[in-house]
Subunit: 377 residues, 2 copies
């Protein structure tokens, strides 16, 4: 049996001060359902990370089923830090493969902008093991990826300029994406001179705080987009357990499993959305997914290979850095962009219509990685 | 394909001030894994409700996989309010039915006692829709079930004494369960005279705040306990949307679906664990699950039919009321008790070894209900 994508929906990402978490969820779901050709939904999976902590709102699955009049169907929320959306998507796939459901609605959503940066940072840190010395020593996510960036510079010829090239590419892509959070043009100079968050990462190297939601309707009934592979891996929850600071093993493992299931290799992928929570994370991911050799990602960046219509276009949506990163929504927003690319109507649509697309969604400091490969059939 | 239960584990429920949420999870998992005959775990599902809000700890799935050395396998946390455990269990079942996993570890856990009652109440209210007038009017969970109790009294000949009989039965059962939170004997008089929480519900009619965890190993490989049916339904998220105050339609629907899948009826069930978050909830559930006719549950209670070795033994563990209710752990703790009943070594072991057991786990004010039927094979 195979699982297919029928339709997608997505809100504008950014600051939605007049919309509740529920409003955002329902808007994305309605758009997806309107285009689902009347498929009767059998279950709802929600990807969400901080609804409980920041909005005091759980039971999101039941709320979606009730408010959209889907009937009293099974629903659940999935949490896996920033990979919550990708994990919810995968549960939808497994739910259909189990034979229990024919049609599943998956929605990812987050509302964050109403909280202070300190509050958001506190909640995001719940994606680290709170009982470890790393937490007590004050490690944060920018801290983690700042260390990996410095190590990467030490091991290679790369510099802060290469991270800036990633940030600039994604910002330029976002300029053409009306749903992206950031639409203001920038320059390499502005990026390089921006205030430092954690050395060497500056403001533009870090994904923003974002409100938003994205939804997708999956079915066992064939459509034009088939899910060729779903794979998930976990990784070390602590930096001290990583055998190589420049490897996010969960990305590598989930990628390898996805390629095996799909019977293809990284060279076959036409368009990619990866989890650039930091510019440095995109650098690691393009290597771990096998698009470029280990420690040579920076050369590919320099040569423009990951730009729209480059050899391996990465984050044509603008990525987390510029489309925005409403935690639970991100994994589904990646699918949203890839579905549009495969259908030929995406922002930054590739000149040659892609056939194979890959989405990679990361959680924690590599504690979770989910990879999905989509095929236009 | 069928799914089987190989082993279970559970911590003492109560006040675990010296154990973190992680400690509790790992202890329950270790017990289950030690008895799983070396099955290699392919995925971990965690049921948890308030780890983010009360312990600032998410990524529980990755923590379990890492700390128990299970390898870098897929993991996720499931949330569905007080049904989080049952929903996680069901995802484990679907994961195996999908063909993606052979052996799955499911753990439910919650740490609540370190927080104030006000904090816990605030977080529990996130299991209501925060955007509705009911929330702004101040509806709480004891309020909801207090109203249903008064209505039940109005419609039937039942009184507060019948609720007290439920509370007393579950307390007496807990006295024989060394893992139960409450081990102090009580009397009908003490229960009836206890301070009122929400009229007519007194202290003994309400489940307590509890720390604890429970775990189970599922497999496609046959064992002595087969999962005959897994069913889940949602229900109204708001009291104002209920067509009948004395019906929790999600319980009725999930029960009916489970019986259909199992090809049996309520009369065939030998032993039951249901979600007695309040004594009144047990009253409604024994009717909605078809064990007794609508509005006649109180007569069955009066006649002792739900007692150990009665016609339909309910909550031989002590139930949520006296075993305790660590939210995310409850659905798995029900399975723990039923597995022991089916194997003949439970607290309050039935005289006649049961063959069919039913677990019912509720979330919100009926927003979620999950029913599993287990068979000794």
């Amino acid at each position: 049996m195979s699982v297919y994508i029928h339709s997608v929906g997505m809100t504008k990402f950014g600051n939605s001060e007049n919309n509740s978490l529920k409003d955002l969820m329902l808007a994305a779901c309605r758009e997806a359902l309107d285009q689902a050709n009347g498929l009767k939904i059998d279950a709802v999976y929600v990807g969400n990370f901080m609804g409980g902590s920041l909005a005091n709102q759980e039971i999101l699955g039941a709320i979606v089923a009730n408010d959209l009049g889907l009937g009293y169907i099974p629903t659940a929320k999935l949490e896996g830090a920033c990979a919550s959306g990708g994990i919810a998507f995968r549960q939808g796939v497994l739910g259909i493969l189990s034979g229990e459901y024919e049609n599943v609605l998956v929605v990812g959503a987050e509302k964050m902008k109403h909280a202070s940066t300190a509050e958001v940072t506190q909640v995001i840190n719940s994606a680290m093991d709170q009982t470890t010395n790393e937490k007590y020593a004050g490690l944060t996510f920018p801290g983690f990826f700042g260390v990996t960036a410095n190590r990467y510079f030490y091991e290679t010829g790369a510099s802060k300029a290469h991270l800036a090239m990633i940030a600039l590419k994604n910002r330029e892509n976002a300029l053409n994406n009306p749903l992206a959070q950031f639409q203001k043009p920038t320059t390499i100079e502005e990026i390089l001179n921006a205030r430092i968050i954690t050395d060497p990462l500056g403001l533009f190297d870090c994904s923003p705080i974002t409100d938003g939601a994205a939804a997708v309707v999956l079915s066992s009934k064939p459509s034009d987009i088939k899910i060729l592979a779903s794979a998930q891996a976990s990784g070390p929850t602590m930096m001290q357990d990583a055998t190589d600071l420049l490897s996010l093993s969960a990305i590598r493992l989930s990628g390898r499993q996805a390629y095996e299931k799909a019977g293809i290799g990284p060279q076959d992928i036409d368009v990619v959305e990866i989890h650039d929570c930091f510019s440095m994370t995109e650098m690691i991911a393009i290597e771990e997914l096998g698009f470029f050799p280990k420690l040579e990602g920076w050369l590919a960046i320099e040569q423009g290979k990951t730009r729209v219509n480059g050899e391996k276009p990465v984050n044509t949506s603008g990525g987390l850095l510029s489309r925005g990163h409403p935690i639970g929504a991100t994994g589904i927003a990646q699918i949203y962009q890839l579905v549009h690319q495969l259908r030929g109507n995406a922002p930054n649509q590739l000149e040659k219509l892609p056939r194979l697309a890959l989405a990679q969604n990361l959680g924690g400091t590599g504690a979770y990685s989910v990879v999905h490969i989509l095929e236009r059939v």
